[in-house]
């Protein structure tokens, strides 16, 4: 077990030599092996992470001032709204405010006339190499055509750590927070998590 380091976040992995050097720096005989110390450190680190993130829930860090669009909103208006608000994704809700999906920049990029569109730069490259607007293929499309559905949603009491894991596992950047009936309460983005982390004085 002492060599199981998979629970360490990347970059914080402790090596035996780090511990050995630290033990050398402390005068006096420490009645513990580097391996045992590493095991304690690993468990303590996990515990601290859990404690710090269990305290914070989606409800506490979510953005509630969210622009939502409807399934039959034209993508042109969706793009305009996103541009105006400076956001990279918006939830799509039905008349009852239930979340049906999410539209993000990625959804736009993947439908544009740009092969293997990964980010904004591939769009720029596509535009520069072709005539006309790369957005032409989706002109006239509606939000429902582009949105990623079903939306990834979480409950308000979901711990931030679980949301961070969700982002990494699903390769997404935001998640809609919904009540039990699926109605939109807010949005948690990667940025919200970063802000919340800084605000709580976590070690960076």
């Amino acid at each position: 077990m002492p060599d199981n380091l998979s629970d360490f976040p990347a970059g914080i992995e402790l090596k035996d030599e780090d511990i050995y050097e630290a033990m050398r720096a402390i005068p006096g005989y420490l009645d513990i092996t580097p391996g045992d110390f590493k095991e304690i450190y690993r468990l303590a680190f996990q515990h601290a992470l859990e404690r710090l993130s269990r305290a914070v829930t989606a409800a506490e860090i979510m953005t509630t001032d969210v622009v939502a669009v409807h399934p039959d909103t034209a993508v042109a208006d969706v793009a305009a709204a996103m541009g105006q608000r400076g956001v990279s994704g918006v939830p799509v809700v039905d008349a009852d405010h239930r979340v049906m999906g999410v539209i993000s920049e990625k959804d736009f990029l993947s439908r544009l006339g740009v092969p293997e569109a990964r980010n904004f730069m591939s769009l720029v490259a596509g535009c520069l190499k072709t005539k006309g607007c790369a957005a032409l293929p989706i002109k006239g499309a509606l939000a429902r055509d582009l949105m990623s559905a079903p939306a990834v949603t979480v409950a308000p009491e979901t711990p931030v750590q679980a949301i961070a894991a969700l982002f990494t596992d699903r390769g997404i950047n935001r998640v809609a927070v919904t009540d039990p009936e699926g109605r939109l309460l807010g949005l948690v983005s990667r940025e919200d998590i970063v802000k919340a982390t800084l605000g709580r004085g976590l070690p960076c």
């Binding site: 002492p2 050995y20 005068p27 006096g28 009645d31 092996t33 580097p34 045992d36 590493k38």
Partner: protein, 180 residues
């Protein structure tokens, strides 16, 4: 399954680093003064009496309370608690089981370990203290439960006093980590 069992005997880490020279010096000095204090009383003051103060397990205690002073095993609670509890268990084992000394010896040590664990007073020399109560012959066994008070309790107190005085003289050291 057998493979996994034997694999557990393989090394998983390395031995802790060697301490610096100052640490070696202070460990030596503490060990010398601690045992000297107990031995002077034992051979000087108590020579003409049937009383004892110095027992073998104090040599092991000296390693901990002067040589590994940060260890939980070396703290006052463990030193005093471990010795006195084990002494009581050792004397009891002898009283109940003599002349079956092999059984008394094994039970004394094993039970001492268990009770020291349960009372958070684990102190390895306590095992020796329990064993001594069983195997040392009339000079010790005649003491009965007084053995736990003296040499064991009193001797451990003297060793503790020296540990407090000497360990805290060293600039890099402080003792104890906790009292109780």
């Amino acid at each position: 399954m057998l493979r996994a069992y034997f694999r557990k005997m393989a090394s998983t880490t390395q031995s802790p680093p060697r301490v610096n020279l100052a640490e070696i010096f202070w460990s030596w000095l503490g060990g010398f003064l601690g045992i000297a204090a107990v031995a002077v009383i034992n051979y000087g003051l108590l020579d003409k009496t049937s009383l004892l103060l110095l027992i073998g397990s104090f040599g092991a205690s000296a390693v901990l309370i002067y040589g590994a002073i940060k260890s939980p095993l070396a703290q006052p609670r463990n030193l005093l608690g471990g010795h006195v509890i084990s002494a009581l268990i050792g004397v009891t084992a002898f009283k109940l089981l003599a002349p079956h000394l092999w059984l008394a010896a094994a039970l004394a040590v094993a039970t001492s370990i268990a009770v020291m664990h349960a009372t958070r007073t684990l102190h390895p020399p306590g095992g020796a203290t329990a064993l001594i109560a069983v195997i040392s012959g009339p000079q010790v066994t005649n003491l009965g439960y007084f053995y736990a008070l003296m040499p064991v309790g009193a001797g451990a107190l003297v060793m503790l006093a020296v540990a407090l005085l000497v360990n805290n003289l060293a600039p890099q050291r402080r003792y104890p980590e906790f009292w109780w």
